[in-house]
């Protein structure tokens, strides 16, 4: 059924449709509507789940780790400093191989205080063993949360679905909300192979030193490798039932494009418009949306970008002292393989809610076409310098 939903509510609908059993959260802008709607749903019986508002995000993640270890499908949502506070527990979810799902409403980290969108929160958590998606629309947010449970429960790793704060979370769009029966067919009831169960006891978090710690971590990396295929399978199966498909990466007008823009999140929507406009004017530019950031889709990135001349990556966060995270990952994917050597231009834009408007993206394309070589590894757009 089609509904007009804000991004936050699209996520709550997805959690409801996924029949989550335990929800634990702590309020933070711009995440609050996600859990408020779920609290409502628990009240009016739309969702049969236990909902607890705990005393911090650290506790929220710990609580859903506990719920999941007991075999329940668990959900939380957070943002920015909340995600930063969860950092320790993020490792505990992935290290214990618990398939929890979290929506993160991307927001800048302080100081100075800022409540608006950038990706510094989730980009800081890339090494925690969580699968990460970045979505472009409210429809994609809803669909990705449902897919996330299927992927997580297949490979036993947690999934973080990132949606841009305010640009998606507080903006209403038409969203096709799937029927419960169809989602039930897509997402069978949760069954965890290893759980806290008195009939079949298992212990979580036990000490494990130099004997087999490394082997377990290697297993996590192997599960990440499987997650790429699991995500493709989840997407295919989703398309069969619901008719919508996203891929790990989404190429847009990349045929014969010498220059390719690489984006994630909501900047992609603006970039599409600019690419259409430039194509009309005869500029051979294409666009690649990176939907899945962890595991990083190395092979498709290489095959899609390896033979281009110039790549312009737009990052909504910075790794200070290095460059934009996405740009670095694209560079690392392309180096040392048997294909051409595109020049990768890394741009930093849209920090702390700064709008990235069509003229900014046009400037990025212009600069990319004008420079002989990248003047730096990070080129800042809109910093007033």
């Amino acid at each position: 059924m089609k509904k007009v939903l804000m991004g936050d509510h699209a996520v709550s609908h997805a959690a409801m449709l996924s029949r989550v059993q335990v929800i634990s959260a702590y309020p933070i802008t711009p995440q609050t509507y996600v859990v408020e709607e779920l609290a409502e749903a628990c009240r009016d019986g739309r969702l049969k789940a236990k909902f607890v508002m705990v005393e911090s995000e650290h506790s929220a993640m710990a609580c859903i780790i506990g719920a999941c270890a007991a075999g329940s499908r668990a959900f939380t949502a957070t943002s920015s400093h909340g995600l930063a506070l969860m950092h320790e527990m993020l490792h505990w979810a992935s290290g214990a191989r618990l398939p929890v799902v979290m929506a993160n409403c991307n927001r800048a980290l302080g100081p100075p205080w800022n409540i608006l969108c950038d990706h510094s929160d989730s980009m800081s958590q890339r090494d925690t063993g969580w699968i990460q998606f970045y979505v472009e629309s409210n429809q994609e947010a809803l669909d990705t949360v449902i897919q996330a449970y299927r992927i997580a429960e297949k490979v036993l790793l947690p999934v973080m679905v990132n949606l841009d704060g305010f640009f998606l979370t507080h903006t209403a769009e038409v969203v096709d909300v799937p029927d419960q029966d169809q989602v039930d067919a897509y997402l069978p009831p949760f069954s965890l192979p290893y759980k806290l169960d008195v009939e079949d006891p298992h212990s979580f978090g036990a000490i494990c030193l130099d004997d087999n710690f490394m082997a377990l971590k290697h297993d996590m990396q192997a599960a990440m490798d499987l997650a790429r295929d699991a995500a493709l399978e989840a997407d295919e199966a989703f398309a069969e039932i619901f008719g919508r498909k996203y891929g790990l990466l989404e190429p847009y007008r990349m045929d014969h494009a010498d220059t390719v823009l690489v984006t994630n999140g909501t900047i992609t929507g603006t970039a599409r418009e600019v690419v259409d406009d430039l194509r009309r004017r005869g500029v051979s530019v294409g666009l690649l949306k990176v939907r899945m950031l962890r595991p990083f889709p190395f092979a498709p990135v290489r095959s899609l970008l390896g033979d281009r001349e110039r790549i312009a990556v737009i990052d909504r966060s910075v790794s200070y002292g290095l460059a934009g995270g996405l740009a670095c990952e694209i560079r690392s994917a392309l180096y040392g393989h048997d294909h051409g050597r595109p020049r990768v231009f890394g741009y930093i834009a849209g920090l702390g809610g700064k709008d990235v408007v069509p003229s900014d993206i046009e400037e990025i394309v212009n600069r990319t076409l004008t420079y002989e070589q990248p003047p730096r590894d990070d080129i800042w757009i809109g910093a007033g310098t």
Partner: protein, 303 residues
Amino acid sequence: MKRHLRELQPFNKEAEDKHIREGHGLHPLDAYLKPGRIPHIWCPGCGLGVALTAYIEALHRKKFPVDQCSVVSGIGCTGRIAGYLDMDTYHTTHGRAIPFATGLALARPDLHITVFSGDGDLFAIGGNHMIHAARRNVNLKVICVNNFNYGMTGGQAGPTTPIDAKTSTTPMGNAEPGFNLPHLAHASGAIYVARWTTFHPRQLVHSISESFDRKGFTFIEVIAPCPIGYGRPNKLGDGLEEMRYYREMSEVRNGADPGTAEIRLRDKILVGKFVDKERPDFLENYNNLVIAKAQAGKKGRAA
């Protein structure tokens, strides 16, 4: 592609500065406020203006120059107080006002350091810090504005939301009892514990001034209306209605056992100065027990 971008007016700094200069200083206590920051962000009927004014009154009464004072706040509507005061202030992360202030109190024991924060900040995400700073008896003046919910994020249930109260995350009523803050502060070791509502501004000013005379961890709870976040779902009326409620339902009982000061929905509110006792503060203990012994040991070795 059609683009309709709004024509932006360039920021006129001169006109803005002139406007701020003209408006600032009209109120006798403006010297304590940062020029250009008023109007504040608080909703009509909110109790935070009363709490801030009471604090400024107390500074005024004690004749403390602003450069001997510092305010540390956490997150939430109360946290904004740090930004309005024209003194050295620190608007910290959620829950961490007390540890930041502890560091400040150790580095600058000469300053009057006040932690101004809300119930959600101090007792949920920062609850651990609160009890340990009280146990250590760090020389901090804590003013906690309690509005029974997370106001800034839209009225979710927090650590003080009374049982059965409605909020945006407890639409059926809260299943958890709230903290009795004076009881918790007392049990954790605070040397001075008082509670007033925003209907008691004079008593509040008196308590804040009095707490400045105490050396150690003091705790003052200010019960404040949040007509938008807490008042509306619980049908407490607007800010004025809530002040009437405080007038009718507050019972002043100085020296009362803080254990009897629990607040229930639409029930009486016990106010007053509950605890006022002496014990050595953290730095005094540290100097007497650690530094003195270390120095004695050094002298012994030298001889």
